[in-house]
């Protein structure tokens, strides 16, 4: 298999993994937001230490829901085109012709140019979404909280809550990781686009456009 093809396939596969991870984070954020809102409507959040905390938790739940929907929507939009290219690659490799490899690379570059801004959005809102789930987990887990002139103390209610918070911590770490990998992906393709722009002189010369 050609090195360009195998590298291209690997990158697309890795990107799909990161996108899948992001989709899961989005779904969890939506679920966390909806569950809190339902619990608040049913009056199950009354156990929270004070009403202000309930308001804060409600606001975070709404933000979590909104960010989750955005993460889901943007990730689906970004990964749709990549998935199409991946399917073509899987279907045609390893007997793919030289022209076809170039065609798929051009498709990917064109697609990246279109979705570059969306990728920037997901890099930013992904970790925010994870953070919201984490903060929501922390806030709903408070059993007691006291603020005095000498310090601040809080008590988490039980082991289950602590486990849930470990889970939300895992989500925030995953969201940071996916954002990091999306950044790496964007950097690699930005670098390639810069290389293309630099090599346009050769193409221009070949077409006889260098004198214009």
């Amino acid at each position: 298999m050609k090195p360009a093809l195998s590298q291209f396939q690997k990158e697309i596969r890795h990107f799909s993994l990161v996108a899948s991870m992001n989709l899961i984070i989005g779904v969890i954020a939506i679920a966390a937001g909806i569950l809190y809102i339902i619990a608040a409507i049913l009056g199950l959040t009354a156990s929270l230490v004070n009403p202000e905390l309930r308001v804060i938790a409600g606001a975070i739940a709404l933000i979590s829901l909104g960010l989750g929907v955005s993460v889901l929507h943007v990730t689906l939009r970004i990964s749709r085109g990549v998935r199409t290219i991946r399917k073509k690659l899987e279907r045609e490799a390893p007997a793919v012709t030289d022209d076809r490899i170039t065609c798929l690379i051009v498709q990917m570059i064109a697609y990246y140019r279109d979705t570059r801004q969306m990728l920037g959005t997901i890099i930013l809102i992904g970790p925010l979404c994870g953070l919201c789930v984490f903060v929501l987990g922390i806030v709903t887990g408070f059993e007691a909280m006291s603020l005095t002139s000498t310090g601040f103390s809080l008590t988490l209610n039980n082991r289950v809550t602590i486990l849930a918070q470990v889970f939300t911590l895992a989500i925030v770490v995953s969201s940071l990781l996916s954002s990091h990998y999306f950044t790496k992906f964007a950097m690699a393709w930005n670098h390639r686009i810069a290389e293309i722009e630099a090599s346009e002189c050769a193409l221009k010369e070949k077409l006889g456009l260098d004198d214009q």
Partner: protein, 91 residues
Amino acid sequence: MSGRRTVYEIYWEILVYCKTPRSFSAIISRCDLNSKLGQEYLEFLVSREYLTIIRDGERTSYQSTPKAAEYVALFSSLYQKLFDSTPGFRL
């Protein structure tokens, strides 16, 4: 193929597609171009002798010339080299 492409990418796509004779409508449909732009690109490639016009009665089609192969090869090598020269994306 759609999406934001450079003019060089569109030229390459037309030249590869026209390795066998193609009609104007087939070219603009395949390369996702409007007829005005498609006409401009084809005129340019014909003027530079990268494409030749084949007339068969009322039918007109376009075919890449041997000169086009040089551009196609250069383009392919530049684009495939992107995966050798730049640090790639990996987990």
